[in-house]
């Protein structure tokens, strides 16, 4: 009787082993999730465009390389393409109800040097890339054309530059 029980237990063990091996097939694999977050763009109006004193009937121009030229300082993701657009580009500077006609010129450079800037039409905007350190400088010049009877006073206007990836 005792001898007969031993193969029975062996049989049970074998069956359990077979069932276990059939049901336990399991495996896993992995992938990665990846993302690259870009540095936010900052645009700083660093230097105002200043025409200084002007006289009625005498046009006055400020070149990109002149001391009175305006400058925007842009920072963002290094070596990344950006679009430049002036979203506010007045045709007149204003003093109360009096207007002083103005036209603008512009250029950009990855270095803070107007002399090496690439010119572009302010009304059309431009596409370029930030430098290897994520910098870009946009220079603004222009010409005012005061009328012969231009009223005396201080004339101002706001120019806004929008930069997008």
């Amino acid at each position: 009787m005792k001898r007969l029980m031993q193969p029975s237990l062996a049989l049970v063990a074998l069956v359990a082993g077979l069932v276990s091996s059939a049901a336990a097939q399991s495996n896993s694999g992995s992938i990665t999730a990846t993302a690259q977050v870009q540095q936010p763009i900052n645009v700083l109006g660093a230097v105002n465009l200043s025409f200084g004193n002007v006289f009625p009937g005498v046009n006055k121009a400020v070149l990109l390389t002149d001391a009175g030229a305006g400058r925007f300082d842009v920072t963002g993701q290094a070596s990344t393409p950006v679009n430049l657009a002036f979203t506010s580009l007045p045709t007149n500077l204003a003093n109360g109800g009096n207007n002083l006609p103005v036209a603008f010129s512009s250029g950009y450079n990855t270095a803070n040097s107007a002399a090496g800037a690439t010119s572009f039409a302010p009304g059309s905007g431009a596409s370029t890339s930030l430098s290897g350190t994520g910098a870009l400088f946009v220079f603004l010049g222009g010409t005012v054309t005061p009328a012969v009877n231009q009223a005396a006073g201080t004339y101002t206007g706001t120019v806004t530059l929008q930069v997008t990836y």
């Binding site: 999730a33 993302a35 977050v37 870009q38």
Partner: protein, 157 residues
């Protein structure tokens, strides 16, 4: 003696029955394609669809012909980035999918947040896909972020 003979026959029968199980194709799970969100801007969510053949995640599974398998994703709540920064991830009820192998366009969707049963085809194959959404915060630190997604597959008896 008769009982011993019957046991021998039973063991022989079991051995014969066990043969097909031993010959079954082994279960393999291969991570084929990462879930790639690409370039993100701080504060702007970005989703990748499971049907995206370039950026969507994909696993290829191989096992016994026509078996049912239980798919269980281990999904991270965020990706890790520079200086200990984390970027939140979320997965929706339709972000998981399965199809016959390599047929990404004929997926059946499922909720990857819960275990799901899918069938292997006559060749013992199925592909599993995964989409998701990255949710960078408004002040998300710039840099590269990564996370690990694991798919565990069990052949159902």
């Amino acid at each position: 003696m008769d009982l011993c003979r019957r046991l021998v026959l039973a063991l022989a029968a079991l051995s014969a029955w066990a043969t097909p199980v031993a010959a079954q194709r082994p279960l393999t799970v291969q991570g084929v394609r990462s879930l790639t969100f690409g370039t993100l801007l701080a504060g702007v969510n970005k989703s990748v669809l499971r049907t995206d053949a370039i950026n969507g995640g994909q696993f290829d599974i191989s096992g016994p012909s026509r078996a049912s398998v239980l798919l269980t994703f281990t999904l991270p709540a965020s990706m890790a980035g520079p200086g200990g920064a984390t970027l939140p991830l979320s997965f929706g009820s339709k972000d998981g999918g399965w199809s016959p192998p390599q047929q990404i366009g004929t997926q059946t969707g499922f909720d990857p947040r819960a275990p799901f049963t899918a069938p292997l085809d006559q060749n013992g194959k199925v592909s599993a896909y995964l989409g998701g959404t990255a949710q960078p915060t408004a002040n998300q630190r710039a840099g590269s972020y990564t996370g690990t997604i694991t798919l565990t597959v069990v052949v159902l008896p």
